[in-house]
Amino acid sequence: MGEVIVITSGKGGVGKTTTTANIGTGLALQGKKVVLIDTDIGLRNLDVVMGLENRIVYDLVDVVEGACRLKQALIKDKRYEGLHLLPAAQTRDKNAVTPQQMVDLCEELKKEFDYILVDCPAGIEQGFKNAIAGADRALVVTTPEVSAVRDADRIIGLLEANEIRNPKLIVNRVRHDMVKRGDMMSIEDIIDILAIGLIGVVPDDENIIISTNKGEPAVTDNKSSAGQAYRNITRRIMGEDVPLMDLNVNEGLLAKMKKLFGFKPA
């Protein structure tokens, strides 16, 4: 039986789609059967980031409306064994799908895949409700900005209200030089406010922009520091105990983070 993980943030532009693409690809590289679902109907991106845009025939809305079979809509990524994408419709809106339809869809996919990653749209409206409907676990993505942390806090509250317990935090686009100078919120500051377990810290890396534009997730690039961070997150999702990357900060913080990082094997 597979597991449904929703990747969400509240605020737009913090890296949900990039995170979904990289973790999904990372899990596939570890030999897992993975499907990525893009629930951002009307503003789909995941297909572009994955470089699979030109292979879309059917989409999520076609599946829930019964216009095609689920198998027909799943795009198999030929580069990575076991990786599939269920793209969003571009010409419809979020109301074309209901939360119950998402629950049914996730149940169906769980039978066949190890991991179902749901890329959530920004906001807290219908699209968000659809995305979290079938989820077993949640990853909350934020960046070290006050606005992103504020939205993440709201999202965590909504996840808890929807009985998705124990969401994990990914802090994206961290610049350690700025944190050191005191110009950027530190991981500790963020954890202090959000009070949830940390599953990974992704450094700001220009390789991400290059790889995103090329449609090749950075997780496959051994030279990319963000890619390394995503590989580590992937292994933690699978239940391995991977220490956090050297963050170049004082020991007290590191020790504290290890304590906070109470990730249990699945």
Binding site: I124, R150, D151, D153, R154, I156, G157, D192, I193
Partner: protein, 229 residues
């Protein structure tokens, strides 16, 4: 009693308030004096719902409207009606007591249970977008994050860091207090007094603090026996 010589007198009755105007007063004089009296007693009226009647004067409906707007504005109470007292005979109180009882809510001016009374426990962190509203005291067993709101008619105790908005004594009780392991809110309110935190460098360690009203201002101080007394 002494209303003939002492100017305007406010009296309570079972329905609310009676304003007794000396017969020799002109309208403007009466209005000015009502304004003064109500402004001084605003703290007393805050949050109440009352019916107001008057005696001893014959005002036109426009004049009644002006007095009502002064009462509305200055008292902070909800004025349900403002009319001339029909039973201007001097002994209405005795027969009225035997009429069916009026709802007692008109007597209550604010939640007084700040030493004991109803209490709500919230066993989680109050996150952005969550609003806890309660007619009584509230205890939060967690933090209150920015964007979260606590509105209580009594005291608020936060067993965590207070970063959001808290309104204690929300229906007007100035004796209410706010307690937290660290008070760093976006805003705190007690009764009708609002305070923002000074924008100083944050000190991050936990130190229990209490916010109370002193001299019409909200003061936050480290919790000590002195602050408790």
């Amino acid at each position: 009693m002494e209303q003939e010589t002492r100017g305007i007198v406010f009296k309570g009755n079972s329905e609310g308030l009676v304003i007794v105007v000396p017969e020799e007063y002109g309208f403007e004089q009466a209005l000015e004096e009502i304004d003064n009296k109500v402004s001084n007693a605003a703290r007393f009226f805050k949050g109440a719902r009352i019916k107001v009647t008057y005696r001893g004067a014959n005002w036109t409906s426009q004049q009644e409207e002006r007095v009502k707007s002064v009462l509305d504005e200055k008292s902070g109470a909800v004025i349900e009606s403002f009319t001339k007292d029909e039973e201007s005979r001097q002994s209405p109180a005795v027969p009225k007591q035997h009429q069916p009882a009026q709802p007692v809510s008109t007597r209550r001016l604010f939640f007084a249970g700040v030493d004991e009374g109803n209490c709500k426990f919230v066993r989680s962190t109050v996150r952005s977008g969550t609003r806890i509203q309660y007619d009584g005291n509230v205890v939060i067993m967690g933090d209150v994050n920015p964007g979260g709101e606590i509105i209580a008619s009594g005291n608020v105790v936060v067993l965590g860091v207070l970063r959001g908005m808290v309104h204690a004594g929300a229906d007007g009780n100035r004796d209410a207090f706010i307690y937290a392991l660290s008070i760093r809110p976006t805003q705190i309110r007690i009764a009708e007094v609002i305070a923002r935190m000074p924008e100083e460098a944050e000190d991050t360690h936990l130190r229990p603090e209490i916010a109370t009203i002193r001299n019409d201002r909200i003061e936050v101080e480290p919790l000590s026996t002195r602050a408790l007394g």
